[in-house]
């Protein structure tokens, strides 16, 4: 089958480590934007974290935000330009630690935006510290004996947590750790953008992704880590879907 770089991705090599999932997620988002024909009315947000430089890779308008604030920034843009398509691209520290309040309240307001949440259970850019989604027992540079339930608390399960909010339209957890998972992730991301186009409200896709460097694993073992360990703690699936109904 025909397979090419989507127009929404620039022809630029990324700075990501070998085997990092960000490159796959970037491509899926870009493919969906291409497919829906919305590149010229899309504005994305770049997070603080490994994906901060995504403005060098995405071929559409991008605003780089302070750590954790993309949902608030996207709210500001979307409310002023309701016919534009807004996506945030956020890591686990950005979305579920320093930006927890912004995430929950944008979701609760039912902001008509699309959130791409890349969960790799570790802080990548700063060198492998504990993330809010680091799993119990998982090693990180700030949990040298493994994350403990009592001192550090368990991993925050974002989809489960947000599913309690009435404002949320769509929540799905996917993965990019196998070709089949990648295809499913693409479908979920597409749906999250379609919901926005149809003005159905807040959609979030959580993508379990590999961080071979900070997990200290070779790329193929990092895929196994997602498939065998992360999927047990973060089960894949649809956590909320009221896209069938109208967004009030």
């Amino acid at each position: 089958m025909d397979f090419h770089r989507p127009e929404t991705l620039k022809d630029a090599p990324t700075h990501y480590c070998p085997g990092c999932g960000h490159g796959i997620v970037h491509r899926l988002v870009a493919e969906v934007i291409d497919e829906l024909g919305i590149r010229q009315r899309t504005i994305g947000t770049a997070p603080v974290g490994c994906a901060v430089l995504l403005y060098d890779y995405f071929n559409c308008d991008i605003i780089e935000c302070a750590h954790g604030r993309p949902p608030a920034v996207a709210t500001g843009i979307k409310r002023m330009l309701p016919d534009r398509i807004l996506f945030t691209y956020q890591g686990d520290g950005d979305l579920a630690a320093i930006g927890t309040a912004e995430t929950i309240h944008a979701a609760n307001r039912g902001e008509n935006i699309t959130v791409i949440f890349v969960n790799n259970a570790i802080y990548g850019m700063t060198g492998g510290q504990m993330a809010p989604t680091t799993m119990i027992g998982q090693w990180s540079t700030t949990t040298p004996d493994g994350r403990g339930q009592y001192a550090e608390g368990g991993p925050i399960k974002v989809c489960e947590m947000l599913s309690a909010l009435d404002g949320v339209c769509y929540l799905e957890r996917v993965s990019v750790s196998s070709p089949k998972d990648v295809m499913n992730a693409r479908k979920a991301i597409k749906k999250a953008f379609e919901n926005q186009i149809a003005e159905k409200g807040f959609s979030l896709v959580e993508v379990l992704s590999m961080c071979p460097t900070d997990w200290k694993l070779p790329p193929e073992k990092a895929m196994d880590f997602v498939n065998e360990k992360m999927k047990k703690v973060f089960p894949l699936g649809v956590y909320k879907d009221r896209s069938g109904g109208r967004h009030e």
Binding site: M1, D2, F3, H22, G23
Partner: protein, 81 residues
């Protein structure tokens, strides 16, 4: 006729394509590219079915496939928007 392209200079040698190729038709090079990584190479073009699983797993857009039958490009070669 479809054609698969591996961009050696883009490849970081993660090997995810090698893992997912259903025909075991991709291997890593023994020499290094300009950025110091081994890179993916096709073993036998004749055995490639152009299923694009390798491209879908590639985090670096280092693999592309031209397939006139399913192409979404217009005649000028530009993708349709």
């Amino acid at each position: 006729m479809a054609k698969i392209k591996f961009y050696a200079e883009r490849c970081k040698g993660c090997g995810l394509c090698v893992l997912v190729c259903p025909h075991g038709n991709i291997r890593m090079s023994t020499e290094l590219n300009e950025t110091g990584h081994p890179y993916a190479v096709l073993v036998d073009p004749a055995r490639c079915t152009h299923c694009a699983l390798c491209g879908r797993m590639c985090p670096d857009m280092a693999i592309e496939i031209d397939d006139p039958k399913t192409s979404k490009k217009d005649k000028s070669g530009k993708p349709r928007e």
